[in-house]
Symmetry: C2
Subunit: 166 residues, 2 copies
């Protein structure tokens, strides 16, 4: 697949200018990446943090608070606030663990799944358009660079979430 090209050209390639463009591309693209969900959330008293929680609960139903904490990389107090709102509003269901009663297992309710769907539909639509515009080969490169950019621990989490093949 990639072939780092022998010696010479892969050097020339990594000018500071090239790297700077990559950095700015990440900055501007991330804004686009979050723009659609943000727009939907705006007005409801929810934000990006709620979106993230919904996403990962949808993805791993029954996950514990601690689990979610590791994935999201925030403090439990911060997550708890977000979760409390979602639970009170009936978007998320929190069930005491059967094995270990200290744990809370999280699930989306009907309404929670509905909002999650709206958010991820919007985000997927943009991603789909970008993938289409760039083409399959570009997408592979995109994923490769992103994976190489993650901290090892994050990458571990990301890959563990795989479950669905490449």
């Amino acid at each position: 697949m990639s072939e780092p090209g022998a010696g010479g050209e892969s050097l020339l390639f990594l000018t500071d200018e090239q790297l700077r463009k990559g950095i700015e591309a990440m900055f501007f693209a991330y804004r686009g990446f979050t723009a659609d969900p943000d727009r939907i959330l705006d007005g409801m008293h929810y934000g990006r943090a709620h979106h993230r929680a919904l996403h990962f609960i949808h993805r791993s139903p029954g996950t514990t608070v601690n689990n979610l904490l590791n994935i999201l990389g925030v403090t439990k107090q911060s997550l708890n606030r977000v979760l409390r709102g979602l639970i009170e509003d009936g978007l998320v269901d929190s069930r005491v663990g059967k094995e270990d009663k200290r744990e809370r297992h999280l699930f989306l309710t009907e309404r929670g799944a509905e909002l999650e769907r709206a958010l991820s539909d919007a985000q997927r639509a943009r991603m789909r358009a970008a993938y289409r515009a760039a083409g399959p080969a570009a997408v592979q490169g995109f994923r490769q660079v992103l994976e190489a950019m993650m901290d090892p621990e994050m990458k571990r989490q990301y890959l563990a979430l795989k479950e669905g093949g490449v």
Copy 2:
């Protein structure tokens, strides 16, 4: 919802599962992307917002406040708070415009340039490592997908910042 309906292989390609992986890759990679500068800023009473200001002032010395506002996409009140701190601490110099005295032109001071360098060295190091690991072809794809993900207006800004060729 998903699955378009024509064409051959580009179909299989854009499954919701593929798109979801792309979404999660963006999420985890962005954390890595900001981790090193955040670590440096931590402890100083600065944050990511200060980093962004320093970056774009470094990049376009003499830029006006309004210019920066458009690039960063925040309100002037928000930017002003950040800028005020940087100016008071002697990292940024604000000079009244010669042509139009209403404008303020922004420059990094010696110390400002120093901090900017520390931040962008760290960020570039990670980007360089990721580029090396993924290879030249992947990098091209990476940039293509990111550009396609930007809002048109952001993309315009991003390309206008080019000045250095691809």
